[in-house]
């Protein structure tokens, strides 16, 4: 049943956010540290296990796949609920600070990609 998949997904998210908040408290920041990431890892691990033992059947999987398929529309809704006006009204300092940090980080993507590759290629890929 589809709800089994959706419930599995929901449980992973709840546990992830809970652990993320606990980590936040532990290191003394008022934020959720990696909650979504932890939830993703949980979902990957649990669903791999359940699939292997044959307990996650295609009908149940559909309860997860639906949410992954609806992801882009959700992002569109997220974009439509952003405070775009405040971003534009922030003036030149906010515009320049945001823009430059984005451009610098874009430029760094290929650099860091290369860095790591040099380290791992000899044994990792063949």
């Amino acid at each position: 049943m589809a709800i089994y998949g959706t419930a599995l997904l929901s449980l992973c998210l709840l546990v992830g956010i809970f652990v993320g908040k606990l980590i936040g408290i532990l290191i003394g920041v008022n934020a959720n540290v990696g909650g979504v990431g932890i939830a993703m890892l949980l979902l990957i691990l649990l669903s791999e296990r359940l699939q292997k033992s044959g307990r996650l059947e295609p009908p149940s999987e559909r309860g997860i796949i639906f949410w992954s398929a609806i992801y882009i529309p959700i992002v569109v809704a997220m974009a439509a609920s952003q405070n775009v006006l405040a971003a534009i009204k922030g003036g030149p300092l906010a515009l320049i600070a945001g823009t430059v940090s984005v451009l610098v980080c874009f430029a760094l993507v290929p650099l860091i990609s290369r860095l790591g590759k040099a380290d791992t290629t000899p044994d990792a890929e063949s």
């Binding site: 949410w67 992954s68 992002v75 997220m78 775009v84 405040a86 003036g91 030149p92 600070a97 945001g98």
Partner: protein
């Protein structure tokens, strides 16, 4: 006539989330038609949809004076539920379904490097620009630097070290600019920075850090890359909130 509009508005407001699905569905459909007809599919439908979403958010802000874009309009509040943190996180986690664990393990180290690099560089860039605009105190410089990280790191850092509300508002604005630019620029810049595989997506997520920006930008570039970028981005804000008011503030204070 007025009663009809009132009834319609009350239905839309009462069935908020359903209205959200309908409105966003139509927006996405129009975007894909535009993508096909006007750009022959070169500009991805989801990129257009996200852009239309941002334009709607701008008009929502003007029309209502609120802070939640189009969803501040009563009848469209459901768009805010649909695009809020709860369903967004649920959908992001769902995209990880079917991803293999090895993919993350292989890039573990560069993911961590990109996270630290992303946070520290954003703080440096933000603080430098704040300096150029005449700010000289370590508290304001650090707070605006935090805003250049994400619109959450800025205010969290600012309130921890006692920044003025004007500076905190600036840091939020800088973070919003960043998130919007990442959403809109990523599909155009992807091919120049080799953003076409899980590994570079992971690094991209760690460097950019803004979850909404990364989520939107990667969705418009290649939906298959979303789980990788989202995975690292999700640690960014936490790391920024950790380093900002502590190590980075101390370092900036030592300089000024």
């Amino acid at each position: 006539m007025n009663t009809i509009i009132d009834v319609l508005e009350s239905v839309l407001a009462k069935y908020a989330l359903v209205t959200g699905f309908a409105v966003i569905g139509v927006t996405v459909w129009i975007s894909y038609v535009l993508s096909d007809r006007l750009t022959k599919g070169r500009l991805h439908g989801s990129a257009i949809a996200i852009f239309i979403g941002l334009v709607l958010a701008y008009y929502g802000g003007i029309a209502t004076g609120g802070s939640k874009g189009i969803s501040d309009i009563k009848a469209l509040a459901g768009v805010g539920i649909m695009g809020g943190a709860m369903l967004r996180d649920l959908a992001i986690v769902a995209t990880a379904f079917g991803v293999r664990m090895d993919e993350f393990r292989k890039t573990g180290l560069s993911g961590i490097v990109s996270l630290f690099a992303g946070v520290i560089i954003s703080f440096i860039v933000g603080a430098t620009i704040a300096y150029a605009f005449g700010y000289r105190d370590a508290v304001s410089l650090t707070t605006i630097g935090g805003g250049a990280a994400t619109y959450i790191v800025g205010p969290v850092t600012g309130s921890a070290i006692g920044a003025s509300s004007e500076v905190i508002a600036l840091s939020v604005a800088a973070g919003l600019v960043k998130s919007i630019l990442v959403m809109t620029l990523t599909p155009f810049l992807a091919k120049y920075i080799g953003l076409d595989n899980p590994r570079s997506a992971l690094i991209f997520g760690g460097l950019m850090g803004t979850t909404s920006g990364v989520a939107g930008g990667l969705a418009a570039t290649d939906p298959k890359l979303v789980p990788y970028g989202a995975m690292t981005a999700t640690f960014y804000t936490g790391l920024g909130c950790l380093l900002g008011p502590s190590v980075i503030f101390i370092a900036i204070r030592a300089l000024f």
